[in-house]
Symmetry: C2
Subunit: 91 residues, 2 copies
């Protein structure tokens, strides 16, 4: 069993209205030190295989086919082996 | 200038409809190895201060006051000092 931690981000050239809205809200709350915000997605995926290469390939394909929009987003992920206890912890 | 990388997650006991939907979509696409998904948010915040303690306190307060809903979400973040070049790269 492997746990993939996937980060999905808008490309730097793409306007980020969610980030701008959060920044504006933080300024209104008095957090004047905030100079920029980028908002993205974080997805944890458990892959039921004991082969790290298969896990890595599968997650990469998931990102390309479903999770990220390659036109405006980029993604990165890390993969780690998890034990039986952790398997059951996250649900 | 500090860069905070904030992860926001639903608590493990809270139902995650977004994660379940992604899991179902991945199964439909043939990714049968996927055993569970948790979907969360990832936010990068640039804080214009040279004091790491202030940056850390401010980001923690932002999470509590705006970014995370403490009833159903938990958050974690890391903080790193960034140079002038990186300051301008992210927008």
């Amino acid at each position: 069993m492997y746990l993939a931690k996937v980060h999905i981000f808008l490309k730097p050239v793409v306007n980020d209205p969610q980030g701008l809205t959060i920044k504006s809200a933080l300024h209104n709350l008095g957090f004047s030190l905030v100079s920029s915000i980028r908002a993205g997605k974080y997805i944890e995926i458990k892959v039921a295989t004991e082969d790290q290469d298969i896990a890595r390939e599968q997650v990469d394909e998931m990102c390309r086919k479903l999770l990220a929009n390659p036109v405006i987003e980029r993604y990165s992920f890390t993969i780690e082996k998890i034990s039986f206890a952790e398997k059951n912890g996250l649900g």
